[in-house]
């Protein structure tokens, strides 16, 4: 029973991991930018949700009306900056790390380093759940899973079916050739940066529903999110989703049957194994890259 419940909640929380990782994975795969500032955008998304919901007494999910456009602009701006700087893959990692440090410090200066949590009145989702017998589905993770599924499905369809999507895949494969065929990668990548920023708003909102926020939280995401990106295959949206679920289930089940302390041990050992056996990612089946 315990294991079944752990598996279930693991699957659902895997949605949150996938939601956080999807943007990172796509910018990495398509635009060749390892954007650590994405963690900063998620953090800001979470704080904005907290702030707007608390001071305007808005339903936290409705704050998306504001945060999604805001983060779209932020993401697009960051991408525009990266484009202007013409960075290599590794330098993008360093520049975006610099940005992340700045974002965390600014967050800390604005909202203080103390824990911020939406009160029970503002955030009715925190403790709600749907139960089927003894099995329980927490609403926050259901929401995370649903949003992740939606984002992944949309991304998949866009990348497969639309001109912009095909153009992006062309950019991923060969920027110069794509350019020769009239694909304006500048505009497309800024657009993509914006969309990725918008997913950060979603992830931040979901995170703030069930967690207390401190600026340092951003660092805590590193391990798990990178694990998901790598396992899923860089640039593979669907793979990211599957990997998120796998990571959620793996740490959930290990926590339940062995010990929560052992979860990171098992998880990261699994990542090393996966990297060695399938360096292109466990679920890489030919997505974007």
């Amino acid at each position: 029973m315990n294991v079944i419940q752990a598996t279930l909640t693991g699957v659902l929380i895997g949605g949150l991991y996938a939601l956080m990782a999807a943007g990172l994975s796509v910018t990495w795969g398509v635009l060749r930018i390892i954007n650590l500032a994405h963690f900063g955008l998620i953090l800001i998304g979470a704080y904005l949700t907290f702030q707007i919901a608390t001071s305007w007494h808005l339903d936290p999910v409705l704050t998306l009306v504001i945060t999604v456009p805001a983060m779209f602009i932020a993401g697009a701006a960051i991408q525009w900056l990266f484009d202007r700087l013409r960075l290599t893959e590794f330098n993008s990692l360093l520049v975006s790390f610099g940005l992340l440090i700045i974002i965390i410090q600014v967050t800390s200066n604005i909202w203080s380093a103390d824990f911020r949590r939406m009160s029970a009145g503002t955030n009715p989702y925190a403790t709600q759940s749907v139960a089927i017998g003894r099995l329980v589905f927490p609403v926050t993770t259901l929401l995370a899973f649903g949003l992740a599924a939606l984002v992944v499905l949309a991304a998949h369809l866009v990348l497969r079916r639309t001109f912009a999507g095909r153009a992006m895949r062309a950019i991923a494969q060969d920027r110069a050739v794509a350019g020769a065929f009239g694909v304006d990668h500048r505009r497309l990548s800024v657009l993509l940066g914006g969309v990725v920023g918008a997913t950060a708003a979603l992830a931040g909102m979901v995170f703030s529903l069930s967690n207390a926020l401190t600026p340092d939280t951003a660092y805590e995401w590193f391990g798990t999110v990178f694990a998901v990106v790598i396992l899923g295959g860089i640039g593979e949206v669907v793979g990211t989703f599957a990997a998120g679920i796998l990571v959620g289930v793996l740490s959930g089940v290990v926590s339940a049957v062995w010990s929560p302390a052992a979860a990171p041990f098992v998880l990261f050992s699994a990542i090393i194994l996966a990297l060695l056996l399938r360096p292109q990612g466990l679920f890489a089946v030919g997505g974007v890259r």
Partner: protein, 677 residues
């Protein structure tokens, strides 16, 4: 230069030792010793990181693993089991060395490990170790460990002095190691790995061994410094040593200072540690991270090579700025203290070096004397097809008017044409000087997943031959080259070189048996001069030579391809033709028995093709057997003693050029098809 740098290092070390030993007499407060000790710790860590990540280009995010294991070894052994502190330092180094070898053995087992994957793999290591320490509560008792203050001989003075001297010693060892490596074969090998790893391997560099060596040294240094860190913080917990801050700061320091030079991380560490200290001393804590983050982002964007490269370009200006600003502030004595003056001086010097090194400043300074220095604008791209003056000069040989007909023979050349050309040129050389069988391929096959790139190719190449390898796109020509050079292993079959089975040999060993190759798209080592590019091949050839003895030999090879006048230039300054000549010089320099030329003429204009053909012939005449992949049948007719035609992975025809070109099957499969395209 080697001696000078070494002496400089030694002098700096002795001065710093003296500063520590006589700190009381100098009136140096213990804070300065602690700060210097902290700088030394970061120098040691950043240098340890740099030896692997800077030199070889494999970025590690796992520096915390060494700090953590080193600190834990010292803390747990001396704090909980009463082991002498001085014994724990080498133990920490040993453990970290073993850890590094383990990680390296796992990570580098993958032939084509991508840099980012390595980075993330190393990111996972501290997480695993931290979790391991938490699961096994018996390691640290569950709450962290206090590090007892070791019994220090009186000669070392008080604890801060001792801590500083110990950290200084380890930092000095680290920097000396980085210095020695950079000026040794290992340094050259690592630089080649950073620039183009598989090229280096095929050229004869035992890349796996050098990467492991870099890992090992990096681990040993990181571990020793980690054990000193335990003493500096006094109380060790999982969070304090396995965290993300350490690897991130180490990377920032390495990148800021410059990762290709041993001084880079030293500069980065000094600047970051002192700057942080000053910021916090002025109560700018809330700005500390913002300023650091800003510096990192800006610097990487503006000067990705790091500060060292910019400072080296303008040593006097930078030093002058440092002395004037710091000295000026000291003389005025209106504000701050020594450390403030120094930090301001260093910042101004760095800023000046960056500004002076920037593109617009360079352009402005060179205004009015345009021809004085090779201009950056001359930097050729791969599409640039200018022929250098002298090469063009002798590229108009008498009686070869026909050879200047535009290239592209496979497209335009009807079978008849080819026949005439073959008759004209192939006869000019006999097969008289053919020797023993040099290369044997026995039923060699190579599959990529379900794609059969090569299927049961059996082929003998004799000494002295010049074999042309032709076939339509995707027929397996390049695959065969890759199999011969060892870049891929055959799915089945046997390859022998000079009687020796090389089928399962590592590429660098195959190179030592006597195989060399060039690449269709030239892949020079970008960070080295043209001379050193070729010297690399000499150094790591069958007989190992030191760099200073390899250089004169390299110049001879450059003369063979008429690039000797560019020996001091960098690959970025060459055009495509010159790059391809460089490829050939480099391949010949490794003293091969067999030379594989993979479309060495692609993309050249007719005059360049003629020049290249002359070079190939010269190489062949020097006694090297050549296999050349080429689309230009006209060229092959001139050159080859024999043609091998591949089609869909199998050997379609093999023999005298004109016989092969008259073979109906060849005409149908290759020329015929091409003619209709």
């Amino acid at each position: 230069m080697i001696r000078r740098g070494g002496i400089g290092l030694l002098v700096a070390f002795l001065v710093l030792v003296a500063v520590g030993a006589f700190s009381d007499q100098l009136g140096l407060s213990s804070f300065y010793l602690i700060l210097l000790g902290s700088i030394c710790f970061w120098i040691a860590q950043a240098t340890s990181w740099n030896i692997l990540s800077g030199y070889s280009g494999y970025f590690s995010f796992g520096q915390a693993a060494y700090v953590g294991v080193g600190a834990y070894t010292t803390a747990v052994l001396s704090g909980r089991h009463g082991v002498n502190f001085f014994l724990t330092v080498p133990l920490a180094a040993l453990l970290c060395g073993l850890l590094a070898l383990g990680v390296g053995a796992v990570a580098f087992r993958l032939g084509s490990l991508r840099g980012e994957i390595f980075a993330l793999l190393t990111l996972a290591v501290p997480f695993i170790l931290a979790a391991f320490a938490r699961i096994n509560r018996s390691v640290d008792g569950g709450q962290g460990t206090t590090v007892p203050i070791p019994e220090v001989p009186d000669a070392f003075g008080a604890l801060p002095q001792f801590q500083y001297l110990l950290a200084l010693l380890i930092a000095a060892i680290a920097v000396a190691a980085a210095y020695a490596i950079q000026h040794s074969r290992t340094g050259s090998a690592l630089a080649a790995i950073r620039d183009a790893e598989d090229v280096a391997e095929v050229m004869g560099v035992a890349t796996f061994r050098y990467k492991m060596l870099a890992m090992l040294i990096s681990g040993v240094l990181g571990g020793a410094a980690g054990s000193v860190y335990a003493l500096q913080i006094g109380f060790v917990t999982v969070e304090s040593v396995f965290g993300l801050t350490i690897p991130l700061f180490v990377i920032v320091m390495g990148v800021l200072g410059g990762r290709t030079h041993w001084l880079g991380p030293v500069i980065g560490a000094v600047l970051i540690v002192t700057l942080q200290d000053r910021l916090s001393s002025y109560g700018l804590d809330a700005w500390n991270s913002i300023i650091l983050g800003g510096i990192l982002a800006l610097l990487v964007a503006v000067s990705p090579d790091g500060l060292y490269a910019r400072l080296r370009a303008r040593p006097l200006a930078a030093l002058g700025a440092l002395v004037v600003v710091s000295g000026g502030l000291a003389v005025l004595n209106a504000w701050g203290e020594v450390l403030d003056w120094l930090v301001v001086g260093m910042l101004v010097a760095s800023l000046l070096a960056i500004v002076l090194g920037s593109r617009w400043a360079t352009a402005w300074l060179r205004r009015g004397r345009p021809a004085a220095v090779p201009d950056e604008a001359a930097t050729a791209t791969a599409d640039d097809v200018t022929v250098p003056g002298d090469a063009a000069g002798d590229a108009v040989p008498a009686g070869s008017a026909e050879s200047t007909v535009p290239a592209g023979a496979p497209g335009s050349g009807a079978p008849g044409d080819a026949e005439i050309e073959a008759g004209e040129t192939g006869a000019s050389r006999g097969a008289d000087q053919l020797g023993a069988v040099l290369v044997e391929c026995r039923q060699v096959a190579r599959y990529f997943g379900g794609v059969h790139a090569l299927e049961d190719v059996t082929l003998d190449i004799r000494a002295g031959e010049l074999v042309g390898l032709v076939g339509p796109n995707g027929s397996g020509k390049t695959t065969l080259i890759n199999l011969l050079s060892g870049a891929f292993r055959p799915t089945r079959g046997v390859i022998r070189l000079d009687g020796r089975d090389i089928t399962r040999l590592a590429p660098h060993k195959i190179a030592h048996v006597g195989m060399a190759r060039t690449y269709q798209i030239p892949r020079p080592f970008d960070s080295m001069t043209i001379r050193d590019n070729v010297a690399m091949a000499v150094m790591f050839g069958p007989e190992s030579l030191p760099l200073n003895r390899a250089r004169p030999i390299a110049e001879q090879h450059l003369a063979t391809v008429a690039l000797d006048h560019l020996a001091d230039a960098y690959p970025a300054d060459l055009n495509l033709h010159q790059r391809q000549l460089l490829e050939m010089a480099r391949a010949v320099a490794s003293n091969p028995k067999v030379l594989l030329l993979d479309e060495a003429l692609a993309g050249l204009n007719p005059a360049e093709v003629d020049n290249a053909v002359r070079v190939v012939r010269r190489i062949h005449e020097s006694g090297i057997t050549i296999v050349i992949v080429e689309h230009l049948l006209r060229v092959l007719n001139q050159l080859a003693t024999r043609l091998v035609v591949l089609d869909r992975g199998t050997c379609l025809a093999d023999g005298e050029p004109q016989t092969v070109l008259n073979d109906p099957a060849v005409i149908r499969a290759y020329l015929g098809r091409q003619a209709h395209v």
